[in-house]
Amino acid sequence: MNLSSEQAAVRDVVREFAAEELRPVARECDAEQTFPEDVWDGLAELDLTGLTVPEEYGGYDADPVTYAIINEELAHGMLAVATALSVHGLATSCIDEFGTQDVRDEWLPEMVDGRPVGAFALSEPEAGSNPAEMSTVAEHEGDEFVLNGKKQWITNGRRAGVYVVFAKTDRDDPGSITQFLVPADTDGVSVGKKEDKLGLRASDTTTLIFEDARIPAKYQLTEEGRGLSAAFQILTGGRIAIGAQSVGLAQAALDAAVEYAQQREQFEQPIADFQAIRHKLAEMQTKVTAGRLLTREAAQKKAAGAGMETAFLASQAKYFASEAAMDVANEAVQIHGGYGYTTDFPVERFYRDAKILTIYEGTTEIQKKIIARHLLGDDA
């Protein structure tokens, strides 16, 4: 793919940053379940915390292709950081897209500088694949909204200073889902349990609890009832980002496998000489390339402003690239044999991390549901 000289330069710098600053801390952060906050400050210095913010607020306002490239390169270094950043990007996208001038002025410049960190709170304990079943409510009282309910699986839950929260304004009306901005220090907002996860362990995933949390009415971001369609609109871009992160992680696993296969000798020859291993590598490479091209195609469609077509491709990219990442990471462990099953090599982390890609921001099953619906033109 032909990149502009600006895109190529951005790729080179982010690639170097990921190799120099992310990869070296990935293992320890995973083992200790800590987020590398100083790396986050480094991301901010590179302007990466302002990717989805217009230049007038100091943001970089990345075009969709550049956004995909950046997500790929960061995930090559460390998926947990790439995910945390892309969720911050979802939050800034929402505030920019739906906030009033006042709200944008209040929050965006500081979020561009890296803090407060943003979070995106859609999922609930009883509403995952079908967020329309959510039960969190935000009741209008005078010039305030009063929030009650619980959100689940919130990336950056502890780190965030501001949440974009989806809630119903009428507890009996499923069509009343609306998007709000909730500062983390609002009375009545608390961060609950931090999940102990299979992978992505450096990223904090928590519950959020709202108990009579009052926010000013100006923090209502969308019109009443427009929250869910706004979420899906923003998540289309999010899915391209997850597709790109999948490609980055898969590439990292492939790179590790190629290197190992050339070094490891059995039967007095490098295991890379065995056809069984060569075929694995060839399959892995093909999946990486296909995932990348599909993701870039979705990004290009988004850049061209093709709404429906973008959503269709974004789901294909997310589905294919995330499953490819799972397959490639699995084979990378296999190529490493017993060594791949230990923390002495990074492939076991790639393998554990890869699994989340097929789950969050819409599971594989949900992506297929979306793709088939486009294809068949029905509403099933």
Binding site: E6, E45, L46, D47, Y60
Partner: protein, 265 residues
Amino acid sequence: MKVLVTVKEVAAVEDEFQIAGTSIDETYLEYDLNEWDDYAVEEAVQLQEAGIADEVVAVTIGPERSEETIRMALAKGADRAVRIWDDALEGADLLDVGAKTAILEKVVEEEDPDIVLSGVQADDDGFGATGVSLADALGYEWAAVVNHLDQDSVESGTASVRRELEGGVEELTDVELPAVLTIQTGINEPRYASLRGIRQAQRKEIAPKTLGDLGLDAAAVENELELTDMYEPETESDATYFEGGPDEAAGQLADLLREKGVGAQ
């Protein structure tokens, strides 16, 4: 105050490569900004951020391809760049120190900077001489292998520098401006270019110049050196096994390293 930084795009060979005659084919090469120059650019940008330098100009001798590399210097904060290239340079398989000096001398005369920062050496051809040779040609003062520059001193017209000598000895020198300082790695911590810096750099000027534009002709850059051969030396590896417990083995390793010159003070 104006700072001129000389930068060079250097070629690095991939793990596997082949030498054909006296050159290595393009397919085995990757290009990047010379490591030492990265530190020189950072030093210049820091002078600018401290309000001491008003303008930072990067200059390179290189083909169009090298614009990608020099643009990184612009992304990190240099204001504009000058790139010299010419058909007469295209054919040469080697550009020696004399030729580079002749070209850069003309650029310095045109730009009239207060300080010229160059890298100590270039990663690829490693002459390690261009900066000092340039100073000599210009009649400027110079300091080589600078690993600290006192920014405040620069404002007063004298650069107080620290130079790294062999065996871990360091020397403080005052150099009157205008001067050429050749910058050693480690003098600062080069920043990553920011994304907005990269975007701004796309709009910054890289002025292309030919030898003619500088008032030079092909004869001025004729080489006095001739590249006669290029080969990979035979490598031999030597493994030493230390016997004994951890303490004993560590002691032996320390002795060996000291013997090889590591950690000499």
